[in-house]
C-alpha cells in the first residue's frame, strides 16, 4: 500500500517529542493492547501481524495521521474479529450504545486459560522458515530495491524503492508480508541491505550515514 503509514523521509511533522516516554497515555490504550495480545495469545484469531498491519494501512489517510496510536490497533482488531466471525459490526455498535463507563466487565472464570493466554501473549513464535532454494544474492552483492507500487501490504518502504545498496547479511527465509497479510505462507530469503545516505536523500543527506533495512528477495534485483 502506498499509504501515509510509510513515513520514512517525510517532512512536516516537527521536532520529536522526546518527553513523551510513556507507552500508554490512557487506560483504554492499555486495554486495547491487552485485548489484541490476549486474543492472539489465546489463539482466538489466526490473523498474522502482517494482516493486522495491513488493516491499519487501510485506514482512511487523514484518520491514520490524527488517530492516537492505539486507535489504529482498535480499528484493525475490530475488522479482523468481524472478518473471522467473532464480533459483528452490528453487535459492537449495539454494545457501544448501551455501554456505560461503570458497566462491569464479567466473563468466565478460568485461571488455567488466563495463564495460557498470558503465556501465549508474551512468548512469540519464531517466524524463520526452511527454504530449499538457494539465496539469489550473496553478501557484498550490489542490488537495487525494485520500484514496486502495490495495493497489497508490503514492507518495502517507499523511500528505498529504486535505490541501490549492498547486501550486508543473509537473514534466512521469512514469510513474504504481501502473502502473509492474506493468510498465505510463502517464505522467501531475506537480506540486510545497506544504503548510503546520499543514494537515498541526494544532496540533502547527512554525511557519513547509512540506512540498513531488511528486504525480501522479490524486492530486489541485481544492479
Amino acid at each position: 500500500v502506498n499509504g501515509v503509514h510509510d513515513l520514512g523521509g517525510m517532512h512536516g511533522f516537527g521536532p520529536v517529542d522526546v518527553a513523551d516516554g510513556e507507552s500508554f497515555h490512557a487506560d483504554w490504550e492499555a486495554r486495547v493492547f491487552g485485548i489484541v495480545m490476549a486474543m492472539t495469545g489465546a489463539r482466538r484469531t489466526t490473523a498474522t501481524a502482517a494482516r493486522e498491519r495491513y488493516e491499519v494501512e487501510l485506514m482512511e489517510p487523514a484518520s491514520y495521521l490524527t488517530a492516537p496510536y492505539f486507535e489504529r490497533w482498535l480499528f484493525a482488531a475490530e475488522r479482523v474479529y468481524e472478518s473471522e466471525g467473532l464480533v459483528t459490526a452490528d453487535e459492537l455498535e449495539q454494545r457501544v450504545s448501551e455501554m456505560r463507563s461503570d458497566t462491569p466487565l464479567t466473563g468466565e472464570s478460568d485461571p488455567a486459560f488466563v495463564e495460557q493466554t498470558v503465556e501465549g501473549a508474551v512468548d512469540r513464535e519464531p517466524s524463520r522458515r526452511e527454504l530449499d532454494s538457494a539465496p539469489r544474492f550473496a553478501v557484498g552483492a550490489e542490488v537495487v530495491a525494485r520500484n514496486i507500487h502495490t495495493p497489497a501490504h508490503t514492507r518495502l518502504p517507499g523511500y528505498l524503492r529504486g535505490r541501490a545498496g549492498r547486501v550486508e547479511e543473509l537473514c534466512g527465509a521469512f514469510d513474504l508480508p504481501e502473502r502473509a497479510a492474506i493468510g498465505e505462507h510463502v517464505p522467501e530469503h531475506l537480506y540486510v541491505v545497506a544504503f548510503e545516505g546520499a543514494e537515498v536523500w541526494g544532496e540533502a543527506a547527512e554525511p557519513n550515514t547509512t540506512i540498513r533495512a531488511q528486504l525480501w528477495e522479490s524486492y530486489l534485483e541485481g544492479k
Binding site: L7, D17, M37, P68, L74, S101, D110, R128
Partner: protein, 194 residues
C-alpha cells in the same frame, strides 16, 4: 482539547464494549486482559535489556555470543519473546540507532513496549533522513567522523543497541552497571555517561 478529550472518552467506551463482548462470548476468560497488561507493565521492560547489556560489558564471551546469536544469549539470562533479535554494537567509530518507519516494531522482550516518541510520525519520518539532527533533539551530539547506521525495523527482525560502556565504570559490579543502562541508549538515541 475538548475534541481530544471527547475522542478519548469515545475510544474508552468502544474499547470497553469490545472487551465486554469478547468476555460474554467466552472468547476470553475474565482476567486475561489484565494479566497481559500486567505482564508487560511489570515483568517486561528495559530493565531486562539493561541486564543483558551489563553482562555483555563484564563478560567478553557473553558479548560475542550476544552479537552472534542474541535470542540464545538473552534466553541464558531468562529473557525471551524476541525470536529474531539482533544486537548491534555502538563503538567510538559507529553509532547505531533503531526505528520502524512503517509502524512501530520494537524488541518488546528486552525493552518492553515502545515510548510514545518512538511511535510518533516525527521520529519515524525523520530519523532515517536526518539522524544527526534528530539525535541532537535527544541531546546527543555526534562527531562528524562517527558513522551513523540507522536500522529500519521493516521485517521480522528486531534490533537492540549495545551501548558503549561509560568511562569510569571499570570498578563497578554487573548490577550497578545495569542500573546505568537506559532505554534510550538501547534504542540508540543516547550515549551513556556517569
Amino acid at each position: 482539547m475538548t475534541d481530544s478529550r471527547e475522542r478519548d472518552a469515545d475510544l474508552a467506551v468502544r474499547t470497553r464494549a469490545l472487551e465486554s463482548l469478547l468476555l460474554e462470548k467466552g472468547l476470553l476468560p475474565e482476567g486475561a486482559v489484565d494479566g497481559v497488561v500486567e505482564a508487560y507493565e511489570t515483568d517486561i521492560g528495559p530493565m531486562n535489556g539493561a541486564k543483558v547489556v551489563a553482562r555483555a560489558w563484564v563478560d567478553p564471551a557473553y558479548k560475542r555470543a550476544l552479537l552472534d546469536d542474541a535470542p540464545a544469549a538473552i534466553a541464558a539470562l531468562g529473557f525471551g519473546g524476541v525470536p529474531h533479535l539482533v544486537v548491534v554494537e555502538n563503538t567510538a567509530e559507529v553509532h547505531n540507532v533503531v526505528v520502524c518507519t512503517l509502524c512501530s516494531c520494537y524488541p518488546w522482550g528486552v525493552l518492553g513496549l515502545p515510548p510514545g516518541w518512538y511511535k510518533d510520525h516525527a521520529y519515524r519520518s525523520r530519523v532515517v533522513r536526518e539522524p544527526r539532527v534528530v539525535l541532537r533533539e535527544f541531546g546527543l551530539e555526534l562527531e562528524d567522523d562517527v558513522a551513523v547506521r540507522v536500522w529500519d525495523s521493516n521485517s521480522d527482525l528486531r534490533y537492540m543497541v549495545l551501548p558503549e560502556r561509560p568511562a569510569g565504570t571499570e570498578a563497578m559490579a554487573e548490577k550497578e552497571l545495569a542500573a546505568l543502562v537506559t532505554r534510550d541508549s538501547m534504542v540508540g538515541v543516547a550515549r551513556l555517561g556517569l
